[in-house]
Amino acid sequence: MKLMRPRSLQARLLVMTMGLVVVIWVGVAFVTWVSARHELDELLDGHLAQAAALLVVQQIEAEDADEVADAPSLHKYAPRVAFQVFHGGHLVMRSANAGTAPMTAKGLGFATEWFHDGREWRVFSTRGAQQDIRVYVGEQTASRREILRAVLLSMLLPVMFALPLLALMLWWAVRQGLDPLRHLSMVLGQRRPQALEPVALDKMPSEMRPMVSALNGLLERIESMVKAERRFTADAAHELRTPIAAIRAQAQVALGAGSDAAQRDHALQYTLAGCDRATRLVEQLLTLARLEAEPATPAPSAVPVNLSGVARRVAADLAPAAMARRQSIELEADAPCLVAGDDVLIGVMVRNLVDNAIRYSPDGARVLLVVTTEAGHPVLRVEDSGPGMTDQEIAHLGERFYRVMGNDQTGSGLGWSIVRRLADALGVEIQVTRSGPLGGLAVEVRWPAQ
């Protein structure tokens, strides 16, 4: 059987408390009943034995009586008690309600018998010192039960009346006790969605503190997330302003060029290039936004990714862009190199690294992609023969929208943010140094040892 659990804390506390009170009361009543019955039995049995003893003594004094005497009934309870006195096997005295046969066939002492009147009797039998006198004293057990019932009722009746009153008082007390909870829900309910400041802990009952602390922690995390989101939106909007301003200016120049066809063509070319640049920026922003929405460590795909394959694919994709600037792009990946992780994410990361190398190296530069294993660590390295970076510039890398100053490239600095974020997601280490063989920048991605 499935128990219905009340959804309200108040109802739950009330039901549980009242249930326990009833159980305890019933238990107490049961114990009282058992012990009262025991005491009553002992007392009344004692009376029976006493009455029997009196009858025996009386018989010794009046030995000569021949007739069967019926004792008068003197009390309304008299029909409930009975006695018989036998002398030498003959019934000599009895109460009016006693039969002529001995009350019990059992031996001396106490016995419980069903009489012909259909009632249960408690019987005590004994005999005199001279063996010929035998006395039976009986009492209806029903009277004992009546006494017990009266005792129990006197105990339980007040409780019956007290229980509803107790329930009412408990309901009020529980309600008072739960007041801080209601207050908290009211405070939270009235909050504006933007209000993310922590809930004051000082007046909270100690039981609620862990919960409210956890809630405050959650609020804090939400706030920092919202702030990051807001900053990202603002940064993104600012970053988009410059390409849009360039597109607008170039378009206006084209409109105003008049008969100067060369100027108009130049301005229109730049307008198109500006659109491409804005598109790329939007793509990067979307990539970054998607990455930030994902959990820090996505479950790596069950199939290991071949790093050499990814590098070859990216190099092939970006080769036309490099060739357009007379740059050479080379791949050194002899053996397959298997790593854990998502091949799409790894692809995006490698692509950004190679794209950066092409973009920030001068025309005619060399870009080298190396996939190898060093001391058990799979390593991917992107090197170029470009101008490299100062230590200070390297320290700033990966700050959103940070751009190395003084180059003609129209990057946004977002590529590095994406790479950093992907490195976190993939659990890989990234190191930026000066390239030994090529003299420019070397970016090394190191996977944990397999």
Binding site: R241, T242, A246, R248, V253, R277, G406
Partner: protein, 223 residues
């Protein structure tokens, strides 16, 4: 009117330079803060368009350094930062105007003309000198109501002289104000243009101060 454009974005800088040239400005373009400060330090520019996020030296730092050196060239800040505190900071540091990207080229031109006019104490856009009326936005000169056809250089020269009405301008000052880098400046170009102006308008419109330079007299009806 000679303008310094300090903008590090190659595409935007190219567009602004071309657009402002179409509007009749002489534009010099620098791409970093150090160069901007150096060029503005010469005092040869009628006004400057300054981006804030410049390499090597932030645009606001450039502005602050200029104002500390008492260089009062009007500066228009052109930036992507649109928050009110940014605007206030820019204006408090000595900027004369604050424009958020993207901007309409014609509006940018009008704002620059307005900055230059106010820097010369002129309230009206249209300049008067006796019977000569010069309208910078329409790039038109009228003599007694009749439109006079002037070449770009002649117009600019008259514009500079009328902006500085009552002041004597040396030939070097006029050359600096008029010609942007990369233009071949012939030794007697100013004299030739002045000669043409006198012929097209009337001889006394520009007066020669011997050994010093040229001036346009300040007239009653120019406020």
């Amino acid at each position: 009117m000679r303008i310094l454009l300090a903008e590090d974005d190659p595409m935007l800088g190219d567009g602004l330079r071309a657009g402002l040239r179409q509007l009749g400005f002489q534009v010099d373009w620098v791409r970093d803060g150090v160069a901007a400060e150096r060029e503005l330090g010469t005092g040869d520019y009628a006004a400057a368009v300054l981006d804030i996020g410049l390499p090597q030296k932030d645009g606001l730092e450039v502005l602050q350094a200029l104002r500390q050196r008492r260089i009062v060239t009007p500066v228009l800040i052109l930036t992507a930062r649109d928050a009110v505190p940014d605007r206030i900071l820019g204006l408090d540091l000595g900027a004369d105007d604050y424009v958020v990207k993207p901007v309409d080229l014609h509006e940018l031109g009008a704002r620059l003309r307005s900055l230059v006019r106010r820097a010369h104490g002129q309230v009206q856009d249209v300049l008067h000198c006796g019977a000569v009326v010069l309208d910078p936005s329409a790039r038109q000169v009228r003599l007694e109501g009749e439109s006079v056809a002037l070449s770009t250089r002649e117009f600019d020269l008259l514009h500079v002289l009328m902006l500085n009405a009552g002041r004597v301008m040396s030939r070097e000052q006029l050359e600096q104000q008029l010609y942007s880098w990369g233009y071949e400046v012939e030794s007697n170009a100013i004299e030739v243009h002045i000669h043409h102006l006198r012929r097209k308008l009337f001889p006394d419109v520009i007066q020669t101060v011997r050994g010093i330079g040229y001036t346009v007299p300040r007239t009653q009806d120019s406020p």
